[in-house]
Symmetry: C2
Subunit: 390 residues, 2 copies
């Protein structure tokens, strides 16, 4: 158990308050990060259906998952054995039944069938079939949207969570340093990524690494124009840029970090200039952040800063981060973009990524940080610049 | 491009035949593996909505994704630029609009709004909100289930696909050998996994590794009773078992491999006996496989084999594999379990995992293989036994 029981109970109190504000009496939690947040359950079992049920009264939530994963709950979750429910393996990948039908029937059997029930309508893995089968098992169709309810509670981190993200930030530093040493002309992309992944998972001597929710994204050459390409087994070529977006992960808490490197001593003037201006925009924006600002206002600082250079970025420049599972390390609740009304508060945690992607090249530089009482604390300490690798 | 254009066109012909059999005129493909199968599109962009639309007439499918990922399509997909559609970044993570509403509106604008439309109802990432927003954009609610349609077409692999899975099998051998060298008493679990992940991604000198759809699952001690736990940063302890489930991945094609090791020279008699009997059951079952058998009949061979020792396994012992993205390397279409009626054919590819998990310990041993004209060809060549690590 990586958090004291009291911290789980405090999380549950907050989620219940949010449920009551939405007039929900039972929440069916599908997002693996939300399941972990409420119970501590951890394992790569989210490729088959699993949920956590939270009502308003019982002290403990109930985990329902595949029967062969129930022992995983015994080893990782704080809840008692009688709150770990395994459904039969025969429900996996069949046409005429489904684990979510089991969940619906279980809810009815528990006497909760008549409650006002919320589901996470846009959570990863909560497919439309999950929804239909849950309704079938419940014998009713009037489910309410509880999407992002737990995610919003996760926004403000505890001291213990911040400590984990600081460790993740130090892991990210190590992984980025490894990247700058491994990426060289003639080295295969996969061989460089292998070293980076190794560094991510080794972590620190006092705090081992966990798998980040996203693998290193390292497009090179003209592919730096595409943000989310991964790697190939081609060798890096001289006089080409390479994007380096990676993360440290500590006990499922993330600190992403992005930088851009150039494989040579003479980067194109346009790239070097773009790098300087992007970094200046990032610095200006991070310096301006204060609790009480909206996410939209933060983006406004960035927009104004780069507009002085005639630059413009259509896509958002950041989002909240923390506890996460594949396929994303973001919390999906807020964005640094024009008009976003969400207000910053101390110990909210974000990844701000200044990524400028044009048709033939791109530059990116990012920081993961928490909002403090008076500004920001970045989780990694790594120079913000275009790195020249020779 | 890792496949000739003609192979993509052949895949599309098969999918269209399956669409016609289900009376579908337009398929909205959400599963990242299916998107890749039809277009070649590859990137870690599936954390925001993306789909491929396939109708019955046009030569090329249409990819619709986030605008900043459109360049990824230019670099990885075989389809022309005018079939790569980017939706605005402002649709990401907002309450009052959604990328799937854009998709629905785009389909209407294309003149396809009145077609019989299929969607992948239980595909990873196809959330109930995706479904509702697609319906909203389309202005209609009568969508049909096209789930697993493409997956079933993927079942029989081409020679080129088999070659990739053979390479993946050789990568899996290297990763497993690395595991047996790295796991030792006193070594932190994360440090061993770091070496394994490094081996997975380095791959072969002539064929670099890709990221497997699942990270190494390596529970140790009593946690070997839980199939899908990953790792911690605790050191391995002497006289404990450790499960090793990993995969080689080559250009998104997988060959998983599971073994069990014991950290000492004197494994408990019960574990050693379980290992012998489980391996014998696996060997017997693999030897018995012929094209024309059903998946249920395959499981029957296993069931009978281990019943002689008084053993019984409730959960399925395998599933089809191939092209995949997180969170699963399986195809979700078939299972080696009692009564499964799916019939084996040459060049179908499976992962058979003989995993016996009890409350306090477990043993697992697996093979990835293709069905041949007369039996099986395993993709990896690795001893089937309990490994003693001293």
């Amino acid at each position: 158990m990586h958090f004291p029981r009291e911290e789980f109970l405090e999380r549950i109190r907050k989620v219940r308050a949010a449920m009551q504000a939405r007039e929900l009496e039972l929440l069916v939690v599908a997002d693996p990060a939300n399941i972990h947040y409420l119970t501590g359950y951890d394992g790569w079992s989210f490729y088959t259906p699993q949920v956590v049920l939270l009502d308003l009264e019982e002290e403990q939530p109930t985990w329902i998952g595949r029967i062969i994963d129930r022992n995983g709950g015994r080893h990782t979750a704080w809840i008692d054995e009688d709150h770990l429910i395994g459904y039969p393996d025969t429900l996996i990948h069949v046409a005429d039944n489904h684990p979510l039908r089991f969940v619906g029937e279980w809810i009815r059997g528990r006497g909760w069938g008549g409650r006002r029930i919320g589901v996470e309508k846009d959570a990863y893995y909560y497919t439309v079939r999950w929804h239909e089968e849950l309704q079938r098992g419940l014998g009713r169709g009037d489910l309410h949207d509880g999407d992002l309810l737990v995610n919003h509670v996760r926004a403000v981190k505890s001291e213990r969570e911040i400590d984990l993200m600081r460790e993740a930030g130090r892991i990210a530093e190590k992984a980025m340093q490894t990247a700058l040493e491994a990426v060289r002309p003639g080295v295969r992309e996969c061989d460089a990524v292998a070293e980076i992944t190794r560094a991510e998972i080794r972590g620190l001597p006092e705090a081992g690494g966990d798998y980040p929710a996203i693998v290193p994204m390292m497009p090179t050459g003209a592919k730096t124009s595409a943000a989310h390409l991964t790697w190939t087994d081609e060798p890096y070529r001289a006089d080409q840029p390479v994007n380096l977006e990676l993360a440290g992960c500590r006990l499922r808490y993330h600190s992403p970090l992005a930088r851009t490197a150039y494989l040579g001593s003479q980067p194109p003037a346009a790239l070097a200039e773009l790098a300087d201006r992007t970094v200046e925009g990032l610095n200006t924006t991070l310096d301006a952040i204060r609790p009480g600002m909206t996410c939209g206002e933060v983006e406004g600082v960035w927009r104004e800063s780069i507009a002085r250079f005639g630059l413009k970025k259509e896509s958002r420049i950041g989002y909240p981060i923390g506890l996460s599972y594949p396929p994303d390390w973001g919390e999906r609740t807020k964005s640094f973009r024009p008009g976003d009304p969400n207000v910053l508060a101390p110990n909210m945690t974000f990844h701000m990524i200044a990524g400028m992607w044009f048709d033939d090249y791109g530059f990116e530089c990012s920081e993961a940080f928490r909002v403090t009482d008076s500004g920001v604390e970045t989780f990694a300490d790594f120079p913000r610049q275009l790195f020249l690798l020779e």
